[in-house]
C-alpha cells in the first residue's frame, strides 16, 4: 500500500514526463512555486501518509512547533509530540482516512508560551484507484480568537448578571429596531409607567372608548407590542365588543369587533377567566390565522381577563414580535388589573350618575304630583258642592209646589262656591308668583355661582364646556333667593338637556351676568347660552306656555314657572335663537333702589 501510494504521484509525474517531456521544466518550476507558497503561508501545513508518517511540513509548522523538515519526515506523531497530543492527532487523521472527505478539527498544541489551539482542516489525498493514500492538514492558530471568545462570554455573563440584578431599566435594541434584551427592572418600570398612563386616562377622559384606547396605546408604546386590544362585554355578557386597538390595527370595526363569549381565543379567555399565553404562535394549534402572524412577524400572544372581584369587565390581548418572559407577562397582568379596576370604577360612576338623574326626575315628578293633587282637591271641593246644590235645585223645582226660598238658597250657594273655585285658582297663581314678604337685596352673580356649585356633576356628566362671565360690580336686586335660584337652575338644566344629543360640535354653555340699563332704569341681566338643538321661531310664543315641552320626559312647567317668578320680581324673561346653534335664555331684573322707602 505504502509503495503504491508513494509511487502514485511518481507514476503520474513520469506519465506526464513521458507524454509531455517539453513541460518537465515548467512542472518543476510549478512545484517550487507551490512549495514557496506553502512555506510563506501563516498556516501550519503538513502531509502524512496513511500510516501517519510525515511526508511534508511547511516553514510555519517548523517554526511554530520547533521541528525541522529533516527531523520530522518519515516519523509519526508519537515520536515527536507528547503522547496525548499525538493520540488526538492520529485519531483525527484516522477519521479523515476512514470517511474520505475533508473535515475540520480543533487540535491543542503545546508551544513555547503554553497551550495553543489550532483549527485544522484535514483532507484526504486520493490516488487513481480512488484509495486514500495520504492526509493533508492546514491548521491556523486560533488561540487568540478562542481567548477573545472566552473573554466575551465571561463579560457577557457578567453584564447579564449586572443587568438582571439592576434596578435601572436596560433595554437592548438591534439595528433593525427589534428588541433583543430587556432586564426585569424594565418590566417593573414599564408596568409603573403604563399604570400611571391608565390612571391619567381614566381621570381625564370621559368616554370609556377613549380611555381604553389611551390605555392600549400606552401598552403598545411601552411594551413594544405589535398590537394591543381591549374588549368589554355587552350588557348581557354574551358578546365582547372591541373598545380599543393600538399598534398594527386601529380599526374597531374589523372582523373581531364583536366576539361571542366562548368563541375564539378571546371569547375563551372571557369564559374561563384565565390568562392565555402562546409563545410560539406560528406552531400553535389554536391559532387560526397563522398567515397573519407569519406576515406580521407575531411570535407571542398574551390574553388577560379583566377581573374585578370575580366579575369580568373586559379582555386585554397583547401581540408581540418577540417571546414573552415571565416578568413581562406579570407586568402586563398588573397593567390589566389597573385597567380592570378603572373600568369597574367608571361603570359604578355611570350607574351612580344615572341613578342621581333618575332620582332628580322622580323628585320633580313627585313635587308636581303633590302640587297638582293639592290643587285638584282645593278646586274639587267647591265644584262638588256646586254640583250637589244644582242637583238639589232641580229636585226642588220638580216638586208640585216648589220651595222658592230653598231653591233661591241653592242658587246663591252655587254662585258663592263658583267664586270660591275662582279664588282657589287665583291663590295657586299667587303661590307661583310668590309674595313680596321674603324679598331681600341679592347679588345675582352670587346666585348664579351658588347654582353652578350645585351642578358640577351634571356639567361633567354631559361633557359640557362651561364658560362663565360674571361681572363683579352688579347692583343688588330685591328678590326671593330660592325663587331666583330655581330660575337659574331651570335655565341651566334646560340648556344642558338641549345639548344632550349634540355630538358633532362642542357642547358649549355660556352663563353671563352684567349690568343692563334701560334708559334711566338700572338693571341686571343674566344670560344662559347653549349650543343645543335650539327652537323654531314659530314656537317662540309657546315656549313659556305651561305644559309645553320638546323634551320626551319633560313636564313643560319649568319655563312657565320661571317666567312667572321673573315677572313677579318686576323683570322679564325671554329667549332668542343664536346666530349659530342653540338658543339664549335671559332675564333682566330691576336694580334695588335702596334710598326709596
Amino acid at each position: 500500500v505504502t509503495h503504491r501510494q508513494q509511487s502514485g504521484p511518481n507514476d503520474r509525474r513520469s506519465d506526464g514526463a513521458r507524454q509531455k517531456s517539453d513541460v518537465r521544466q515548467p512542472k518543476r518550476a510549478e512545484e517550487a512555486l507551490a512549495r514557496e507558497i506553502l512555506n510563506n503561508s501563516a498556516n501550519l501545513i503538513s502531509l502524512k501518509d496513511a500510516e501517519g508518517r510525515y511526508l511534508f511540513v511547511n516553514r510555519q509548522f517548523e517554526k511554530t512547533l520547533h521541528v525541522r523538515q529533516e527531523q520530522i519526515r518519515g516519523k509519526k506523531d508519537d515520536e515527536i509530540f507528547p503522547p496525548e497530543q499525538a493520540a488526538a492527532f492520529r485519531a483525527n487523521d484516522l477519521q479523515v482516512l476512514h470517511a474520505g472527505v475533508p473535515m475540520e478539527f480543533e487540535e491543542a498544541t503545546l508551544q513555547d508560551d503554553g497551550a495553543h489551539t489550532c483549527l485544522v482542516q484535514k483532507f484526504p489525498l486520493i490516488n487513481a484507484e480512488g484509495k486514500v493514500y495520504a492526509t493533508g492538514g492546514i491548521g491556523s492558530d486560533i488561540t487568540e480568537r478562542k481567548r477573545a471568545e472566552q473573554a466575551l462570554r465571561e463579560s457577557e455573563e457578567h453584564y447579564r448578571l449586572l443587568c438582571e440584578g439592576a434596578a435601572d431599566v436596560v433595554i437592548s435594541i438591534n439595528e433593525s429596531g427589534q428588541l433583543v434584551f430587556v432586564n426585569p427592572a424594565t418590566d417593573s418600570a414599564r408596568q409603573a409607567v403604563v399604570r400611571a398612563d391608565v390612571g391619567v386616562a381614566f381621570a381625564t377622559k370621559d368616554s370609556l372608548r377613549a380611555i381604553l384606547q389611551a390605555c392600549a396605546e400606552s401598552v403598545v408604546r411601552h411594551f413594544e407590542a405589535a398590537l394591543a386590544r381591549i374588549w368589554t362585554p355587552d350588557k348581557d355578557h354574551d358578546v365582547l365588543e372591541l373598545q380599543a386597538s393600538a399598534g398594527l390595527h386601529t380599526d374597531l370595526d374589523g372582523p373581531h369587533s364583536r366576539v361571542p363569549v366562548g368563541f375564539l381565543n378571546i371569547g375563551q379567555i372571557a369564559k374561563e377567566r384565565k390568562r392565555l399565553v402562546i409563545n410560539d404562535v406560528v406552531n400553535d394549534p389554536w391559532i387560526p390565522d397563522k398567515a397573519w402572524a407569519r406576515n406580521e412577524g407575531v411570535m407571542a400572544i398574551a390574553g388577560y381577563p379583566l377581573l374585578v372581584r370575580d366579575s369580568l369587565v373586559g379582555v386585554m390581548t397583547f401581540f408581540s414580535k418577540s417571546s414573552l418572559s415571565t416578568e413581562t407577562l406579570d407586568a402586563l397582568a398588573s397593567v390589566a388589573d389597573a385597567i380592570a379596576q378603572g373600568i369597574a370604577q367608571k361603570r359604578a360612576e355611570e350607574a351612580w350618575q344615572s341613578r342621581q338623574a333618575e332620582l332628580a326626575r322622580v323628585a320633580r315628578l313627585a313635587t308636581m304630583a303633590e302640587l297638582s293633587a293639592s290643587i285638584a282637591h282645593e278646586v274639587t271641593q267647591p265644584l262638588a258642592a256646586i254640583v250637589t246644590n244644582g242637583d238639589a235645585c232641580l229636585r226642588l223645582l220638580a216638586s208640585d209646589r216648589p220651595n222658592v226660598s230653598e231653591t233661591r238658597g241653592a242658587v246663591a250657594s252655587i254662585i258663592r262656591d263658583a267664586r270660591r273655585a275662582v279664588d282657589v285658582v287665583a291663590r295657586v297663581r299667587a303661590l307661583l308668583k310668590k309674595s313680596d314678604v321674603d324679598r331681600t337685596p341679592l347679588d345675582l352673580g352670587q346666585i348664579v355661582r351658588d347654582v353652578l356649585a350645585l351642578v358640577p356633576r351634571e356639567v361633567a356628566g354631559h361633557r359640557i364646556v362651561l364658560q362663565t362671565s360674571l361681572a363683579d360690580d352688579l347692583p343688588p336686586v330685591l328678590g326671593d333667593r330660592i325663587g331666583l335660584q330655581q330660575v337659574v337652575l331651570n335655565l341651566l338644566t334646560n340648556a344642558i338637556e338641549a345639548m344632550r344629543d349634540v355630538a358633532e360640535r362642542r357642547r358649549e354653555l355660556v352663563i353671563s351676568s352684567r349690568r343692563y340699563d334701560v334708559g334711566p332704569d338700572v338693571g341686571v341681566l343674566v344670560a344662559v347660552q347653549d349650543a343645543g338643538v335650539g327652537f323654531e321661531r314659530g314656537s317662540l310664543d309657546q315656549l313659556f306656555e305651561p305644559l309645553y315641552t320638546t323634551k320626551p320626559d319633560g313636564l313643560g312647567m319649568g319655563l312657565s314657572i320661571s317666567r312667572s317668578i321673573i315677572l313677579s320680581h318686576g323683570g322679564r324673561l325671554w329667549a332668542t335663537p343664536n346666530a349659530g346653534y342653540g338658543a339664549t335664555f335671559q332675564f333682566v331684573l330691576p336694580a334695588w333702589k335702596s334710598q326709596r322707602p
Binding site: A373, A376, H377, T380, Q381, P382, L383, A384, A385, I386, V387, T388, N389, D391, A392, R395, L396, S399, E406, G409, A410, S413, R416, D417, R420
Partner: protein, 208 residues
C-alpha cells in the same frame, strides 16, 4: 220617602258641602246633623233613631278612615257612606272591607248618594229592630226564676215532663206548674216558639 224619624249625620270640613248635602237630602225628607270634625261627632250623644253617616275621607285631625275604625267598636254601630274629592283604589278597598255601604267620589250623582243613604238607613233600621227584639227577649228571660230557667232549658231540648221531673228530682205536677209559668213569662205560645227564642238568646245546651 223614609220614616220621618230617621237622620243623616254628615262629617265634612267644607261647610259648603255640608250645606249642599243638607239641601239635597232635605228634598227627600231626610233630616241632617252636621259635624266639622270626626272628634265633634264622637263627642256628641246621637239620638236613638235610624240613621247613617255621610263621611268625607280627608278631614283635619282624625281622618274619615280613622273615624270608621273608631266607630266599629261603638254602640250602637252606624252604617257609613264615604265621599271624597280624590279617592284611590286601596283607600276604597280598605273602607269597603271595613263595612262601608258605599264609596263615592266628589262630585257624585245625586241619585247615587240618595240611594246609598237610603240603603244605609234601611240597614240601620233593620239592625235596630233586631237589637230591640233581642233586648226584649233578654228582659223576659231575666224575669224567670232559677228553677224556671232549668225547666226551660230541658223543655227546648225536647224532654217530657216526666223526664224533667226525674232530672230535677221533683214531681211531674211541679214541673207542669213551672212550665206554664215560664211559657207565660216568655210570651211563648208553643214549644216551637220557645225553641226559636232560646236560639235567639244563644242559650247553652243543658249540661249532661
Amino acid at each position: 220617602v223614609s220614616g220621618a224619624d230617621s237622620i243623616v249625620f254628615i262629617v265634612d270640613d267644607d261647610p259648603s258641602m255640608c250645606e249642599a248635602l243638607t239641601r239635597l237630602l232635605g228634598t227627600v225628607g231626610l233630616k241632617t246633623q252636621v259635624f266639622k270634625t270626626a272628634h265633634e261627632l264622637l263627642g256628641t250623644k246621637r239620638p236613638d233613631t235610624p240613621s247613617c253617616l255621610v263621611l268625607d275621607v280627608r278631614l283635619p285631625g282624625l281622618s274619615g278612615l280613622d273615624l270608621q275604625r273608631e266607630l266599629a267598636n261603638a254602640d250602637p254601630p252606624i252604617p257609613i257612606v264615604f265621599i271624597t274629592a280624590h279617592g284611590d283604589i286601596p283607600m276604597t278597598v280598605q273602607a269597603m272591607k271595613a263595612g262601608a255601604v258605599e264609596f263615592l267620589t266628589k262630585p257624585f250623582r245625586d241619585q247615587q248618594l240618595l240611594e246609598a243613604v237610603q240603603q244605609a238607613i234601611d240597614r240601620d233600621r233593620a239592625a235596630r229592630h233586631q237589637r230591640a227584639e233581642l233586648a226584649e227577649l233578654r228582659r223576659r228571660y231575666e224575669s224567670l226564676t232559677q228553677r224556671e230557667r232549668q225547666v226551660m232549658t230541658l223543655v227546648v231540648t225536647g224532654s217530657l215532663n216526666k223526664q224533667i221531673a226525674a232530672e230535677l228530682g221533683t214531681s211531674e205536677a211541679t214541673v207542669k206548674a213551672h212550665r206554664a209559668q215560664l211559657m207565660r213569662k216568655m210570651e211563648a205560645e208553643s214549644v216551637a216558639q220557645l225553641v226559636r227564642i232560646a236560639e235567639g238568646l244563644g242559650l247553652p245546651p243543658p249540661r249532661r
